[in-house]
């Protein structure tokens, strides 16, 4: 099926690529269907594109690329809500707030996007009792450039 996207124009997607977010995401509670797209082949960035709203897309990355020590427990409610049975099915992403210049871009480590790739279910999980914040600089990226 054809899908209009914010950053990739019109693309073809398969039904099985659609991830269902039964609870939407905070600020966008009615957005319940997304696809995960690569930004381009080489980059560590991905796009969480709404299937329902062409102009709604989030830039994400795999947090462990920039924050190798990033760790948290997934609460029981989330395990049940996403029907998680095997940790191999769990994919963790972080939504980035991109700024200009890019070095000012921040990662929301306090609310990772968890996707069960087997069940095609996703949710943005708000970590409780955590030292992680909604804005962490991607400083590792800047260091690698130098």
């Amino acid at each position: 099926m054809k899908q209009k996207t914010k950053y990739h124009g019109e693309i073809e997607i398969q039904k099985h690529e659609i991830i269902h977010f039964p609870f939407g995401i905070p600020g966008f509670l009615n957005e319940k269907k997304f696809v995960v797209l690569q930004l381009n082949e080489e980059s560590p960035f991905l796009i969480l594109q709404s299937v329902q709203s062409e102009q709604l897309a989030f830039i994400m990355t795999i947090p462990f690329t920039f924050f190798p020590n990033y760790a948290f427990d997934i609460d029981e409610n989330t395990i049940e809500q996403l029907h998680i049975e095997d940790e191999k099915d769990i994919h963790v992403f972080t939504i980035l707030t991109v700024h200009e210049p890019f070095e000012k871009t921040t990662a929301n480590l306090q609310a990772p996007v968890i996707i069960n790739s087997k069940e095609k279910l996703g949710k943005q999980v708000i970590l409780s009792n955590t030292h992680y914040k909604t804005k962490h600089l991607l400083t590792e990226l800047v260091k690698e450039e130098v």
């Binding site: 914010k6 950053y7 609870f23 995401i25 905070p26 600020g27 966008f28 930004l39 381009n40 080489e42 980059s43 960035f45 709604l56 897309a57 989030f58 830039i59 029981e76 409610n77 049940e80 809500q81 939504i95 980035l96 707030t97 991109v98 700024h99 200009e100 210049p101 890019f102 929301n108 306090q110 609310a111 943005q124 708000i126 409780s128 909604t134 804005k135 990226l141 690698e144 450039e145």
Partner: protein, 65 residues
């Protein structure tokens, strides 16, 4: 009780501090309002990146090589 499934209890009263307990079914998540609002705000900000800014990301990756 709120509806059928949500229960609010007063778990302790200490001086002028009241401790509240909340029980809810597993499909309902509970968060402090200020935490939830911060996530909403951050998501809103994150959703507003423009194509121009994204092209900036592509440039950054090229520069690394």
């Amino acid at each position: 009780m709120i509806g059928d499934g949500i229960e609010i209890t007063i778990t302790a009263i200490e001086g002028d501090q009241v401790k509240v307990g909340i029980k809810a079914p597993r499909h309902i998540d509970i968060h402090r309002k200020e935490v939830y609002q911060e996530i909403q705000l951050e998501n809103n900000a994150a959703s507003q990146a423009s194509l121009k800014v994204l092209k900036g990301i592509k440039l950054n990756i090229k520069n690394q090589k």
